[in-house]
Symmetry: C2
Subunit: 493 residues, 2 copies
């Protein structure tokens, strides 16, 4: 009886454990699936790209499935598969760069390989492998060495790799087959088929342009700077207990800019391979994005230093702080607004220097006010210099930031001069823009551009666009960016 009970208990325990394990497994799997779903939703282009690759693979498999195609290409069809797998890159620029590199390198190396085989045949049966070996060794080593040169590495690295591969394959298999020309023809034609499929799919099925990504990335980075500057006032001048970690993390977005150089370089490199698209013409000044990005990063370095003063407990005496609070706030806020306007004008591809310059002028005026506050503090109080240091340093870094924002604005100005964007809006560019465009048409006429120098006091209020744009409805904060975009395009449509 007791044993029976014991066995029953054991059984129940086992079942419970199995149940627990199953529910745990289920939780884990659903969690993982949710993660994957979220990852796909974050950038649906990833899912589209995966489907595109699957589609290209299925398409190229036809070389095997369809009898007439298989008869003409035979097992060489696998070169087409290989090409599709390797050349399919996320961006159009990546696919084009790999495809063209692969195509030209195969052609050149194939021709050289055939030449090498013919040359080696002059040397008799015994000499042939020796000559071929020497040629493979020396060309392979030379091409490998060439891959170290920065210029070749940047643009033709893949081409050099394929050159080594094709030359070695043709030269070496030429030793064993007499139909080398047929083989070379089959290989080259299948590689061309694979490459063409990839390039066509990547350009015509939901293309992802590296150039557009770069463009958006620069605009977003400038926006991140603006967010930091807008949050600065609340963080530095807030009472200690009010600084929450949450706002901190939101304002710290700019950190990604500090190390974004390699991503930018890659995108700019790929963008140069892309044909004209949207409003990016051929010979679009891709290099100039790097200049702007460099200045943006320089500005982010200043934030990194400023951060030390926000987080520090040692602050200047309160009466001094309260004196510099207003001009410093205006300085950071106006610089932030200028950056917002710059980011917007890049996003909408419309130069809006009037608005940008007005904000920069305002923040420069605030610099004068800070200086005045310094002057009055030093004459009024008898306190020692030491106590002022944190406040003074903070303010002078802020001044440097304003200068840095001015430099960014100049670089963007120069960029617009070079980029020659079309003067009309292309609503196809992005659905988001189209929506703004539509929105604009609804209350067209109610939005008036403002003249420079007109009511400067109003500029220094925090809701800048709302003041400039004399709109009928009081817009909510969510609409702010949209309205900004509207305003900048007002003289265009």
């Amino acid at each position: 009886m007791e044993m029976n009970l014991n066995a029953q208990e054991k059984k129940a325990g086992f079942l419970q454990r199995v149940k627990a394990f199953l529910s745990k497994l289920k939780d884990g799997v659903t969690k993982r699936i949710r993660n994957i779903q979220k990852f796909g939703k974050d950038d649906p282009r990833r899912i589209i790209h995966s489907i595109k690759v699957g589609f290209s693979l299925t398409l190229v498999s036809m070389l095997y499935y369809v009898r007439p195609l298989y008869n003409s290409f035979g097992v060489s069809g696998m070169w087409a598969i290989l090409t599709v797998v390797v050349v399919s890159e996320f961006t159009v620029g990546g696919t084009l760069s790999k495809g063209l590199n692969r195509g030209f390198a195969t052609l050149i190396a194939g021709a050289l390989g055939v030449g090498a085989v013919h040359l080696a045949r002059f040397c008799g049966h015994k000499g042939e492998p020796i000559v071929l070996g020497i040629l493979v060794f020396s060309l392979g080593a030379a091409a490998t060495f060439s891959r170290f040169f920065p210029r070749i590495k940047q643009r033709y690295d893949y081409g050099a790799l394929i050159f080594i591969l094709t030359f070695t394959m043709v030269a070496v298999s030429g030793y064993r087959t007499d139909e080398i020309l047929v083989m070379a023809y089959q290989r080259i034609s299948t590689i061309l088929i694979g490459g063409t499929i990839c390039i066509l799919v990547s350009i015509f099925v939901c293309p992802v342009w590296a150039g557009e990504d770069l463009h958006k990335m620069i605009a977003n980075n400038i926006n991140k700077l603006a967010n930091y500057l807008e949050g600065f006032e609340g963080e530095y001048f807030a009472l200690p207990e009010k600084i929450s970690k949450e706002t901190n993390s939101c304002v710290r977005e700019y950190k990604s800019i500090l190390t974004s150089k390699s991503t930018e370089d890659t995108l700019a490199n790929l963008a140069r391979w892309e044909p004209g698209h949207g409003r990016f013409r051929l010979r679009h000044p891709w290099k100039n994005y790097m200049k702007i990005a460099g200045l943006v990063r320089q500005c982010a370095f200043h934030f990194e230093i400023l951060n030390g003063y926000i987080l520090s407990d040692v602050k200047a005496p309160e009466d001094f702080i309260s004196k510099i609070q207003e001009p410093c706030s205006i300085m950071s806020r106006e610089a932030g607004e200028a950056l917002k306007a710059i980011a917007n004008s890049i996003k909408t591809m419309n130069n809006d220097s009037v608005c940008v310059n007005a904000h920069i002028e305002n923040s420069k005026k605030a610099i004068e006010n800070v200086k005045f506050a310094f002057k009055s503090s030093s004459t009024e109080t008898e306190k020692d210099l030491l106590e002022f240091i944190p406040g003074v340093t903070m303010a002078s870094i802020l001044v440097e930031i304003v200068n840095s924002v001015e430099k960014i604005s100049e670089a963007v100005e120069e960029f617009f001069g070079l980029a020659h964007f079309k003067e009309t809006l292309d609503p196809k560019l992005s659905p988001e823009l189209e929506q703004q465009h539509h929105h604009h048409l609804i209350h067209r006429g109610s939005v008036k551009p403002v003249l420079e120098g007109d009511n400067e006091e109003e500029y220094s209020s925090s809701s800048h666009v709302l003041v400039i744009v004399h709109d009928e409805q009081p817009p909510t904060t969510n609409e702010k960016t949209n309205l900004g975009a509207e305003k900048t395009r007002d003289n265009v449509v």
Copy 2:
């Protein structure tokens, strides 16, 4: 007669032009060759790597040249060539990561492919290509999507690529051949042969370890910071006409640190694939290098801001500057010496915290002196705060730099705790170190370690190591680093 002269003139002109062209061509070619030679000399490992690749290629060609080998592998030999070309990377870690990824991905995808072909055969002749097509599409798309996940991208990107490639090839060619198992066997064995050749050559013929590169890179970066701090005094306090552009460029080495994150990440990623080598054991804390590198970069950000004050024309009043010159100079110099000692202890893999801490203490004392100078200035003079700003900001950024150096030292300390370097010197590690080692043995005994807290005044002199190490010969500046290395290893040999 005249016509004859004219013709002669023309001929002479033509000859001259040909000569000019030839000499120009010769100049261009020699210039280019010199450039290439210089490029190779800068890092001879590049030449060695090229020769290694050529050698591997020649070795793998034997699969074609040698009759018995060709009989057993046939045209599958080209997979070995392909593997050698693609897997041969500059560093051991790169080769291993690609080789292992390729090997495992081929095995898994090959097995799945064979399974897919058998499954499809159940569905009859008409259903076969449809089932295969669906499988290729879905697995291809899924594997492509997986490549977007950062974790997979970082370590298994190449494996996922090869998985897609192999699975598609096996599944698709299985439709046309019945000898799929033989084919799969030949392919996998040739890929293993190619991969093994690459890995053996890369490990046993003049290996380039990514881990060692990372280690040296971190030490060099810290050295670059030290150079900047040592040059700072001369640049900031120099008379304007004395600032030459040349010293500027020499001191500006640190700029490369600002954007070196991606290189460091890549090296750390590759280093994790490498087996234990030299004094880097298995499970060496590669991740901790990233922490140190982050702090080093943070310090470089401060330099970037400090630079603005060096180059600016607006400086504080001279009497104020002369007051803070000495403590500021000591601050930067001592922080620089501390960094030099840290870099040296990383290079020689010997913790020398006594020396580092002494320098940091000295620079901290100098901070107090700067503060004292501030205090006295504010009581003495009646000048306004505004004029002091540039000097005050410069000094307080310098204080931040000292704090940042202390953080670096702490991180390095922690790293040494984790790294468990062997306590004896391994003279095989690098010829440079061996030389230092030898040098040390010559006047062994003449070098005495100094006790902490002992003669602190002497520490603040600029030639710190010379004071600490009571050497017989007055060493030249060139030997300084060597002597530093010697000192740090004194209690070890």
